[in-house]
């Protein structure tokens, strides 16, 4: 037998079931917690990022803030008549970009850029009978916008690609609240008393509450008319190849154009910061889990080795070397850790399914109108594997080393 250490170790594993079960349970609980907790949170955050990234451009180019617009008499009158106090929002309006084609040409060579789409986007109102709701109106060139934002996938009724000058696409929540469907007509009002009566040609559902309730799409031309922009736009949306390069690409575009450039990472900074904070907390929790599992493994091994002292002595009297004796116990720990990992992974999956069931029964979450897909985090599954592997080695190595160092005479004589 070439590897008698493995033979002895596996026999110890199967013969000393009580110890084997204690070690396996200790590690598998640790593994399942290490996988389960981050998987829930990362599923939530990942879903939020996916939805945010797919429903908005990775990068937007805008012009600096216009601080003079608030003095516009028509605008103030509009709000005053409706007893609304939205002066502050007026102040945050961006200046218009007059020659967007020129800007697109300036940055078109950048390798990371996949698609670009000009847009107008301002706050306005949707009016349907007596119902009047504040909304974010986005004027787009559909064939370009759909290259930048994955909006076509979110269309649940109708279409957006052939969005005409008298058409509008609205979110599912807004459609429900206004009680409108495809073919119905609604009035869109801009801040300068310009209104348009548009036909609903599409309804989308992104799963993000803010989008589905407050965002509407009209054609670029229509938007320019509603906001009296002439041929100007107030932004260019950009899709890039590697979304996590967004900050760097934005910086580069800013250097070239001198305009304000924001990346999705900046706009979703809170979510990304939340993920970073979460990772820090989870690292600490993982440390505690590993520490407690390692302690139980070490104590079980100390007991196991104490009970095997005479056998260790006799093995050494027969010529077993220190390294072999040590290997017997480390192999036991490693083989149990592999078994425990498989059990822990399965248990994490079960916990995730159970949790998904709870969330699904609630129907929606705080930020999202759709339940995210709960997936095992591959990153933490890999981490858990290394955790179980190295914890078992580290936790068993000290008692195993002591076993190897046992004097055979003392061990045999007890």
């Amino acid at each position: 037998m070439k590897l008698y250490e493995l033979f002895i170790a596996l026999r110890y594993v199967t013969s000393n079931l009580k110890q084997s079960i204690i070690i396996t349970v200790a590690i598998s609980i640790g593994v399942s917690l290490i996988i389960w907790i981050p998987s829930i949170n990362l599923s939530f955050f990942g879903d939020l990022i996916d939805k945010s990234v797919s429903s908005a451009p990775n990068i937007t180019i805008t012009k600096e803030l216009d601080t003079f617009e608030r003095n516009e008499p028509g605008f103030e009158r509009y709000f005053r008549d409706r007893k609304l106090l939205l002066k502050d929002q007026v102040q945050t309006r961006k200046r218009n970009i007059k020659s967007y084609k020129e800007i697109i040409n300036q940055i078109d060579h950048l390798e990371q850029i996949e698609a670009m789409a000009p847009y107008v986007s301002e706050q306005g109102f949707i009016i349907r009978g007596a119902e009047e709701r504040g909304t974010q109106i986005r004027g787009i060139i559909p064939e370009l916008e759909t290259e930048v934002v994955d909006i076509e996938n979110d269309i649940i009724r109708g279409q957006i690609r052939n969005l005409g000058i008298n058409d509008i696409v609205i979110g599912i929540t807004l459609a429900d609240k206004l009680n409108v469907d495809l073919g119905d007509r609604i009035t869109v009002a801009g801040p300068r008393e310009s209104t348009k009566n548009l036909k609903v040609v599409g309804i989308f559902s992104t799963g993000l509450r803010a989008q589905d309730e407050f965002q509407v799409y009209v054609s670029l031309k229509s938007g320019q008319q509603i906001f009296n922009l002439g041929n100007d736009v107030n932004g260019i949306g950009i899709k890039i190849k590697d979304i996590y390069e967004a900050n760097n690409v934005a910086e580069e575009i800013k250097k070239i154009t001198g305009l304000d450039v924001d990346s999705w990472m900046e706009e979703n900074k809170q979510v990304l910061d939340q993920i970073s904070r979460f990772r820090l907390i989870i690292t600490f929790i993982n440390f505690l889990i590993i520490f407690s599992a390692a302690s139980s493994i070490t104590s079980v091994f100390i007991m196991l080795i104490a009970s095997k002292a005479k056998e260790i002595g006799i093995l050494k009297s027969m010529g077993a070397k220190n390294l072999s004796v040590m290997s017997v116990f480390v192999i036991q720990a490693v083989s149990l850790s592999i078994l425990a990992y498989a059990i822990g992974l399965g248990f994490a999956k079960l916990l995730l399914m159970w949790y998904a069931g709870i969330i699904e029964s609630a129907g929606e979450t705080f930020l999202s109108t759709e339940v995210p897909e709960f997936k095992i985090s591959v990153e933490y599954a890999v981490l858990a594997f290394f955790y179980s592997f190295f914890t078992s080695i580290l936790a068993s190595i000290i008692p195993s080393f002591q076993a190897a160092k046992l004097n055979p005479v003392e061990a045999i004589n007890g």
């Binding site: 008698y4 033979f7 002895i8 005479k310 056998e311 006799i314 093995l315 009297s317 220190n322 005479v409």
Partner: protein, 234 residues
């Protein structure tokens, strides 16, 4: 190099063993001894006389504090732990009062353990282990675990294990101490048979006078000193 004949299995020159501690114990004092191949000898003495220490030193389980120990003509004090382990595996068999079998393994696997350790496990080794078990009267107990065997049967398995790698010498520390008289006699006869048939050296450490009287040579130790070393003609 000491003057050692080919017949000599092991030789002790001025061996001392002192256990250090709060109260140091001088367990062996200036031991000089030569043991030849094929001898059947008993080491006797009262409890605490140093006979087990002597066995541990002779069996390379414990190192002497001073003096020289030669095995098959080679001085052992400079051997590494690994060399000693290899030598024990190849040349020495141990039998203890408590059989000290591995309870998780069958009788056959216990006998095979020294072969596993020497990593020379082949079909021939398994056949030899079976032959040994048959020769010690356990031909029908290959698959039995120690818990399923009697004290005498377990001691027979331990004997089989000691013989497995065909060692030059077998050390037996109180081998019949836990057995009844009838079983003790059977074990003794088994030792004698193996000694006669295979020429293996047997060194039996015992406080049982009756067993010692049956040996060819008796070495008596008192307070770590050899007080008697005489051949007997049985």
């Amino acid at each position: 190099m000491a003057n050692i004949s080919e017949k000599t299995l092991l030789k002790l020159e001025n061996i001392d063993k002192i256990y250090t501690g709060a109260q140091p114990v001088h367990a062996l004092r200036n031991i000089n001894l030569t043991i030849c191949r094929g001898e059947f000898l008993a080491i006797v003495g009262p409890s605490g006389s140093g006979k087990s220490t002597m066995m541990n030193v002779l069996g390379l389980l414990d190192a002497p504090t001073s003096g020289k120990l030669y095995y098959l003509g080679q001085e052992t004090s400079r051997w590494s732990e690994k060399q000693k382990a290899d030598f024990r595996n190849r040349e020495i068999g141990f039998i203890f009062q408590a059989h000290l079998l591995l309870p998780e393994f069958t009788a056959l696997e216990n006998v095979l353990m020294p072969a596993y350790i020497s990593r020379k496990m082949k079909k021939a080794q398994e056949d030899r282990a079976k032959e040994i078990l048959i020769s010690v009267g356990l031909g029908d107990k290959f698959s039995s675990k120690p818990a399923q065997l009697s004290g005498g049967q377990n001691q027979r398995v331990a004997i089989g294990r000691a013989l497995m790698n065909n060692p030059s010498v077998v050390f037996a520390d109180e081998p019949t101490g836990a057995l009844d008289q009838k079983t003790s006699m059977e074990i003794y006869n088994l030792f004698r048979k193996i000694n006669a048939e295979q020429g293996m050296t047997f060194i039996i450490v015992t406080h049982e006078r009756e067993l010692a009287q049956k040996a060819d040579r008796i070495i008596e130790i008192v307070d770590g000193i050899i007080v008697r070393d005489e051949k007997q003609y049985t």
